[in-house]
């Protein structure tokens, strides 16, 4: 079955399905953006997309190359300055879902987009840094994270907490005065993880069709918690695949 779609397609479709019509969604660039735009052609046509560049309620017809792509501005209801985006829209707690990618994630869904390996001053790999992510993770009512699941990305301890998920467990968000609810789901190429309601530790709750739990465990850098109630993601429908492929193909044009 796994031969009819790619793992990235499955991940993108699974992520898109989780977005509710009518919600406001603050979108990071890359796969989060693809999934959010895809959701608008699926179950959530009036998903209200905001990008940190200032584009408000944008309906891009093709994938933006960057967070400030003209495509986002040309199809927006309005474009506003960044103080308004960060202070009035995001910080005020008006955003339902923040949608982020990451280079590393830990069991409490803390995410790293700053550097990999060694130290901040002398990193092995320097990544772009925070951008909007720190405050998106802090302020949205909930946060969805899309990331491929490997031992390089799912690590025991992130090299740098760029954006806090649940810190070191219950109480951390409160202690850090984060207004939003924190990560509600992590969508990977293998399945979906959700925080345990009590411990807040990421727990595998869905596997994508054709994926075995051993794969998920092998590709996680900590002892992965698995839900006793583990389910299988619904396989992509042909219409979903058509839509994601049509969308992705726009970025080649």
């Amino acid at each position: 079955m796994n031969t009819t779609w790619t793992a990235d397609e499955m991940m993108t479709i699974a992520a898109a399905r989780t977005l509710q019509d009518g919600n406001t969604c603050f979108v990071g660039i890359g796969i989060p953006s693809t999934a959010a735009i895809l959701a608008k052609s699926m179950q959530a046509p009036s998903l209200f997309l905001i990008y940190e560049s200032g584009t408000v309620n944008t309906n891009p017809q093709k994938l933006p190359l960057s967070i400030g792509d003209g495509e986002l501005a040309n199809h927006a209801l309005t474009v506003v300055g960044m103080p308004e985006i960060f202070n009035y829209w995001l910080q005020s707690g008006r955003i339902d879902v923040g949608f982020l990618g990451a280079a590393q994630i830990d069991r409490f869904a803390n995410i790293n987009t700053t550097f990999i390996g060694q130290t901040y001053d002398s990193p092995k790999v320097r990544l772009p840094g925070a951008g909007g992510a720190t405050e998106i993770a802090a302020s949205c009512k909930e946060v969805a994270i899309i990331i491929r699941q490997t031992t390089r990305t799912f690590v025991k301890q992130v090299d740098f907490v760029t954006s806090m998920g649940f810190g070191d467990g219950p109480g951390s968000r409160e202690k850090n005065r984060l207004r939003g609810g924190g990560p509600s789901r992590v969508i990977t190429d293998l399945g979906i993880l959700e925080p345990d309601p009590k411990t807040l530790e990421l727990t595998m709750t869905y596997l994508h069709p054709g994926v075995d739990i051993s794969q998920a465990i092998e590709n996680t850098g900590w002892e992965l918690k698995v839900s006793p109630n583990l389910k299988t993601t619904k396989a992509p429908e042909q219409s979903e695949l058509d839509k994601v492929r049509a969308l992705v193909s726009t970025s080649d044009k």
Binding site: L72, G81, T114, Y120, S122, E135, A138, R177
Partner: protein
């Protein structure tokens, strides 16, 4: 390029319309704190290239997203400190000249001061507002707090609320690219404007390059007008934001962004680029 002696309304006694080399020479000095803004859109590349050409050094370079423009200026040795909040080649990958300078001090050592977008945006807001700091909910829970400067906690005088304060940033010079100027030296830009307005109000001097000069502005959605009395120099530089884009004028030349990855990975290839594309070319856009 139109003549710098473009005729102005009687109102303006001294022309602010300068050739780009003259604008940079007049208003950008070694050691300045400089902000060249434009969030993906309207990045003032031509002005950045002119700064390289004039071998201006020791700049503290502020920009939310350093992008290729600061990668090029860092590689060329113009920058001693980078203040930023997202340092990548958007949609492509890393900024190799920035990494080489920061990690290997080539061509010179650079310091960095790293923020979140919300934090750096509010540093501009405070600067624009003429006060020493702004308050926000920001940085909380991030390790960034222990690796940056100009961020502190502050307690509300009205409750037990503790929030974040960021220090104002006030560039010596802000440089923008915009779509249009009118003959009186007002500037209009539209589409994504990012922190353009704040960067202008925060700065001591402002240089704007524009695509064209028009008789009269026409209304546009999401447009802002920067009055001429906030601007020190305007240079007419068609394609001055290339290879980034200028809404309603040209699209981003993404091949250049992709090509930059290879060019910038290698010091020799970069040096070659610097000679052929900057030093041996006269000031212009694309």
């Amino acid at each position: 390029m139109i003549d710098a002696t473009i005729e102005l309304d009687g109102a303006l006694k001294v022309s602010k319309f300068l050739e780009l080399p003259q604008a940079i020479e007049s208003y950008v000095k070694n050691g300045d704190v400089i902000a060249m803004e434009g969030f993906t859109h309207l990045i003032p590349f031509a002005a950045g290239h002119e700064i390289i050409r004039q071998k201006i050094t020791d700049l503290t370079a502020v920009r939310l997203t350093p992008d290729l423009i600061y990668d090029q200026m860092i590689g060329a040795g113009c920058v001693k400190k980078l203040i930023f909040s997202w340092g990548g080649n958007p949609g492509v990958g890393s900024l190799h000249r920035f990494r080489d300078a920061y990690q290997n001090s080539w061509p010179n050592k650079i310091e960095i001061e790293e923020h979140t977008h919300a934090g750096l945006t509010n540093r501009y807001v405070a600067g624009a507002s003429g006060i020493g700091f702004a308050v926000l909910k920001g940085y909380s829970g991030s390790d960034l707090v222990s690796h940056t400067q100009n961020v502190a906690e502050i307690k509300s005088p009205f409750s037990d609320e503790v929030i974040t304060a960021v220090a104002a940033i006030n560039p010596d010079v802000t440089i923008l690219h915009a779509q249009q100027a009118d003959k009186a030296g007002n500037v209009m830009m539209w589409g994504i404007t990012g922190v353009a307005k704040e960067a202008v109000f925060a700065a001591s001097k402002v240089i704007v390059t524009v695509e064209e000069v028009v008789e009269k502005f026409e209304p546009k959605f999401s447009s802002i007008i920067i009055p001429s009395n906030l601007i020190d120099a305007i240079s007419v530089v068609p394609n001055g934001a290339w290879p980034s884009y200028a809404s309603d004028f040209y699209e981003r030349d993404n091949n250049q962004y992709i090509a930059w990855d290879d060019i910038s990975k290698d010091r020799d290839r970069f040096t070659e680029w610097l000679n052929s594309e900057i030093y041996n070319k006269s000031s212009a856009g694309k």
